[in-house]
């Protein structure tokens, strides 16, 4: 029982350290990023799927595309509206979204994810040609 004071102090210090970041950053949530669309993306009006779907599921979509193209040799995607797309990150997605820094990166940085798609896929097919 003698060490009660010591234990209480220890617990208090522990909580202070753990909670410090929350206190320090209180009310300062990082602003939700605004992504920019290229004129081409704007003109198209609609992506392969709805904006909500793309926001939430684009990584799953790309995963399905990759497996279909690489593993099964199927390269055409027909969306629910019946429109056909070439399932290609380089030639379809990045053709419209050729502004990686203002489009992909803004959200990825906010969400702290670091996809390595661009180690191989060329980021803005137009500019570098």
């Amino acid at each position: 029982m003698k060490s009660k004071a010591l234990i209480v102090t220890g617990v208090v210090i522990f909580f202070l350290i753990v909670l410090f970041p929350f206190w320090y950053m209180r009310g300062k949530a990082a602003p939700v990023p605004e992504v920019e669309l290229t004129p081409k993306a704007k003109a198209a009006q609609k992506c392969v799927r709805s904006t909500e779907y793309m926001k939430a599921e684009h990584m799953q979509l790309l995963d399905v595309w990759r497996d279909a193209v690489v593993r099964e040799g199927k390269r055409i995607y027909v969306n629910p509206e019946g429109k056909e797309f070439n399932m290609s990150l380089s030639n379809t997605c990045l053709d419209c979204h050729s502004n990686k820094a203002e489009f992909c990166d803004r959200c990825h940085n906010y969400a702290s994810v670091r996809p390595y798609c661009w180690s191989c896929h060329i980021e803005n097919p137009k500019e570098k040609s």
Binding site: R49, V64, R66, A68, V70, R71, G73, K74, R75, I76, Y77, V78, N79, P80, M87, S90, N91, Y116, S119, C120, H121, I122, P125, K126, K128, S129
Partner: protein, 262 residues
């Protein structure tokens, strides 16, 4: 004491059960979403098909390394193959070599002069019994059932190089360095590779998918033929029927799909 412990355990049990219900419900919800939208994934209408793609190389039409250059150039350019000068780091999809390197075991001490000096085009043979596929621990390389192409999934390759050790033809190259700075002119339609993956000729699968023949065949002025090995009416079968052809290291039993007219 005992009864309270039992109560706590029961509480834990119920909580655990409650926690597992959410993902299950979520899964159901998701299924509904995806089945609602009708998405179709299919092959392109123009894609070329075969049971086993094969190539016939008429070596009589190549006299010097310079004759091979346009073919190699065409292949390496569209596939973003880097030009590394260091022999140990070199990346090759298509290249030329001497008869006695291409066909060891078939080279006699003295050879016909024209064969001795002729360069031989070599590439991945898309073997029918590919040892590289058996060696790969991740299925990053495999034989496509639809058309017999021995394909690479660069996403999945872990760079262990077992396939390179297994391939008796040296058809595979490893990226010891980031290849991007060494690509002279980037083809934006095709990805590059990254450090740490293996690459090789893909029989131009991306061109076959849109109805085009391989790039090297296209620029060869008829010296290279491409077609289905199992279609008796195909151009490759016609050439094999009417010419004496040999294959590389046939004795190893990998069943190469590249035939050479000597």
């Amino acid at each position: 004491m005992d009864s309270s412990r039992r109560r706590i355990l029961r509480l834990f049990g119920i909580s655990a059960l409650a926690l597992t219900t959410r993902p299950v419900l979520n899964a159901f919800a998701k299924e509904e979403q995806t089945t609602g939208a009708e998405v179709v994934i299919k092959e392109g209408a123009k894609s070329l098909k075969a049971r086993q793609w094969a190539m016939v190389i008429d070596t009589r039409k190549f006299e010097s390394e310079a004759d091979l250059e346009p073919l190699i150039e065409a292949c390496h350019k569209i596939h973003n193959v880097p030009a590394l000068q260091n022999k140990n780091h070199e990346i090759k999809w298509l290249w030329g070599t001497h008869y006695h390197n291409a066909f060891p075991g078939k080279a006699a001490r003295f050879l016909a002069e024209k064969v001795e000096h002729r360069p031989f085009l070599v590439l991945c043979n898309h073997c029918e019994n590919p040892p590289c596929v058996r060696a790969c621990p991740t299925k990053a390389t495999w034989k496509r059932e639809a058309d017999g192409i021995v394909f690479m999934d660069f996403h999945r390759c872990i760079g262990c190089r077992f396939c390179m050790a297994a391939c008796p033809f040296g058809a595979r190259s490893f990226n010891y360095r980031d290849p991007r700075p060494f690509i002279k002119e980037t083809n934006n339609k095709f990805p590059t590779r990254m450090k740490g993956v293996v690459e090789k000729c893909n029989f131009c699968a991306e061109r076959l998918a849109v109805g085009q023949l391989p790039a090297c065949v296209e620029v060869s002025n008829g010296a290279l033929a491409f077609g289905d090995l199992y279609d008796p009416a195909s151009e490759v079968r016609e050439l094999i029927r009417t010419h004496y052809t040999i294959r590389r290291k046939q004795i190893l039993g990998t069943e190469p799909s590249v035939y050479y007219i000597v």
